[in-house]
Amino acid sequence: MLFPTLTYAIFFVLVLGVSWKLRPRPRLWKPFILVVSYIFYGWWNPTFLLLLAASQVGNTVMGYGIARAPSDDRRRWWVRVAVTANLVLLGFFKYYGFFVESLISLLSPLHLAPTPLLIEVTLPVGISFFTFCAISYIIDLGRQEIEPANVIDFSLYLSFFPHLVAGPIVRASEFLPQLKRLPNPNAVDATRGARLIARGLIKKVIVASFLSQAIVDPVFGAPGAYRSIDIIVAIYAYAVQIYADFSGYTDIAIGSALLLGIKFPDNFDRPYTAATIQDFWRRWHMTLSRWLRDYLYIPLGGNRGSHFMIYRNLFLTMLLGGLWHGAEWTFVIWGAYHGIGLGVERWVGERATVPRNERADRAPKLSRLRSELGLESTVGEVPVIGEGGDFVMAEPNDVLPPRRERSPWVGRAMVFHFVAIGWVLFRSDSLATAGTVLWRALTAWGSPELVTPLILVTILAAIGVQYLPQRVGLTLEWRVSSLPPVVQGVGFALVLLVVDILGPQGVAPFIYFQF
């Protein structure tokens, strides 16, 4: 079931009413939400409900195994088994074809291509999301940070329909406690929920669909046929499209959950205002970023160890993060591109903050410096992926005359362009297409064919809105929340009408469904 459809609207309104009626009786409410979540998911392909159910039951059982393990070794063993089982499930459905096709390409020149291994494996919608949720539950149990959940609660956590197919990647520690306490039925944050849903619909149905049809699809479909200006604008347009598409989905998901009395973590925070790549990853798909940090980057060693180890951890985390997005080399290279970008940014940041006369080539090695300064980093201190300069602190007096402060706008422009170029890999169906797009963006000058003032205004507006102070939206919410509910309802209907008028006929699936 797609969010921006009348089917979902009817479904949600029915579920909303019944849900609040049943909410005081968890024994009825939980199975009800579970059933409607299954209906939501099964609307695409009921076959995959079996897979979802198997994941729910299997992880519940393994969760109990972890919680009741008589020793630490036994608990670790259970964690390893459970994580492996989840990765095997994800690996088979998502990466089997990728690895076999890569193997065939590699071995074909030797006439050893294992062609019998070529079978088509259908990718179940949302498997990357619910598998990551399951892994986080298992690891948190292993770390003894949460208590095991019964099969109903865990199933609800994994399949709660607003976040089931494309996130946010909610943690068990955020979700499960909300099942135990009743939300206040007299203080539903309905205005915020409605605003999020309206904002998500505008982003997805109007902005993303328009840019996709007007310039992104034609240019990325035939990059050899368009001139540099068309291609450059299409690259910017895709940066806006993917943001509008994915954050639009997230907005609707968070808004829907909020109306049902469940709070989700934020997933986007004006990412194109980021002045560093690291800052971008703090603001883009935040729930994935923290998942990668907590369950991949830190277990790999995080900021501990030698310089090489830190850069390696950073690179591997982003590389695997890229692979998570899709079983294609374009995604792998995209992940590596961001890994390298974060590494370079970190290196430059360290060069800028370490006193020139204490740089590694002239002074004690950084590890010694850290030790001397008493700034050894520990796992718990690492706030985000690639946190730069968190352990190498320079006293201002030690530094040679400070360099002139760079305007944040330079950083923002550089980061936006770095990210937008990376999106070319993300959008292209092959590395060759990505190469053509980038090459022709620089070399094929001539009259544009597709660029219109409306496209440019849409791109500029979508980026410009991110620079509005947050209080604008909050004040708007506050003012609207003072209005009578019926007026709010009428206003929401008018927003829907505008979306219907300005949107295309039919709505394409969300980009992130494929992940």
Partner: protein, 357 residues
């Protein structure tokens, strides 16, 4: 109404103001008001969406409900703003109508008049319009990309997703192509559709005409294929009809084979039509559907996207070349005509009889 968190008057001025919460059932009633009001205001869109829905229980529920809401909205004049907006945006609620031209009969030997071939050159490039469903969109983009550096060919991609010949109430291809040919000067029309046509055939107003799987369905589909072929034949245009490549779904695959046979049958008697045999060319070694193909004897490449219908870029390139090969005999290249004036160009028959179908 209650505040979501306690509000305090002695908070610092800069502190964010607290939103007012709503009682759960009040929120639900507001949501119902929204949905009902939107349904009335956008009743035209609901009817169009319901009509566009695949036949089945959902459509059986949606369509009468949407029609009822539309009647009520019309009575209350609540659908005027949408009608006005659609008018301003040049969006029609109802697809344009079309009358197929009289059916062309196969020309008797020597009884046709021929239209001289148009010589293509860099200054007068061959103009190719690509029409059809999402597959044609992909094909059009691939063709455009393939000939990007060739100044003698211009490709215009005009595909529409989720369309075909089964549902003229949703998108009436014959009428749209007629409009396009009247407005834009193209030499060759490439048409590719059929992947969405495994359903009951309807007329322009959404009435069922023939159920899938019946002889009546084949007969009506044949009439539409023939009508479109004749529509393009106005003495100037050549038509390249691209068959539906086989698909993974067996039912849809069976329908695709029926459609392709109809296309081949009808094209056989129309010299201005050329058929690209995508069914055979993009099938596995045993002639059945396959996700992977060995193109030019190289290592197997993925030919279908995960949906088992749409083609990957590798196979689209292959198909593009087949389409250009099919177009080529219809037109004389400037270089060729300067070296040889005997380029064989099929005649365009102009003999017609009144429509009997």
């Amino acid at each position: 109404m209650t505040a979501t968190t306690p509000s305090s008057n002695d908070e610092p001025v800069a502190a964010p103001r607290v939103r007012h919460g709503m009682k759960a059932m009040t929120a639900w009633k507001a949501a119902v008001v929204s949905l009902v009001l939107f349904s009335l205001l956008a009743s035209g869109s609901l009817v169009k969406a319901a009509r566009g829905h695949e036949r089945g229980w959902q459509r059986d529920i949606y369509l009468p409900a949407a029609n009822g809401i539309d009647r009520l909205a019309n009575l209350l004049s609540l659908n005027r703003p949408l009608d006005w907006a659609n008018g301003a945006l040049h969006r029609d609620d109802v697809e344009p109508d079309i009358q197929f031209p009289p059916v062309t009969v196969p020309p008797a030997s020597g009884s046709t008049t021929t239209v001289p071939p148009r010589v293509i050159s860099a200054t007068a490039p061959l103009r190719v319009g690509v029409f059809g469903d999402s597959q044609s969109k992909d094909l059009g983009l691939a063709m455009k990309s393939r000939k990007a550096k060739d100044p003698t060919i211009s490709v215009y991609q005009q595909g529409q997703v989720s369309t075909g010949l089964a549902r003229p109430d949703f998108y009436n291809w014959p009428a749209r192509i007629q409009e396009f040919l009247a407005d834009d000067d193209v030499d060759a029309v490439v048409f590719m559709t059929g992947s969405n046509d495994d359903q009951t055939l309807q007329d322009r107003l959404g009435n069922a005409v023939a159920r899938i799987g019946t002889p009546e369905w084949s007969e009506e589909y044949r009439r539409r294929v023939a009508g479109l072929m004749d529509l393009v034949n106005n003495g100037q245009h050549r038509l390249v009809w691209v068959e539906v490549p086989l698909v993974r779904d067996p039912e849809l695959g069976a329908t695709a084979k029926i459609i392709n046979q109809i296309v081949r049958d009808e094209a056989a008697s129309r010299q201005w039509v050329s058929v690209v045999d995508a069914e055979a060319a993009l099938a596995g070694p045993d002639g059945a559907y396959s996700d992977f193909l060995e193109l030019d004897g190289k290592a197997p490449v993925r030919c279908r996207r995960p949906d088992g219908v749409h083609l990957t870029s590798e196979c689209l390139e292959e198909l593009s070349d087949m389409v250009f090969d099919a177009i080529a005999p219809f037109f004389a290249n400037e270089v060729a005509t300067t070296t040889s004036t005997t380029t064989a160009v099929p005649a365009i028959p102009t003999t017609t009889v009144p429509s009997g179908r």
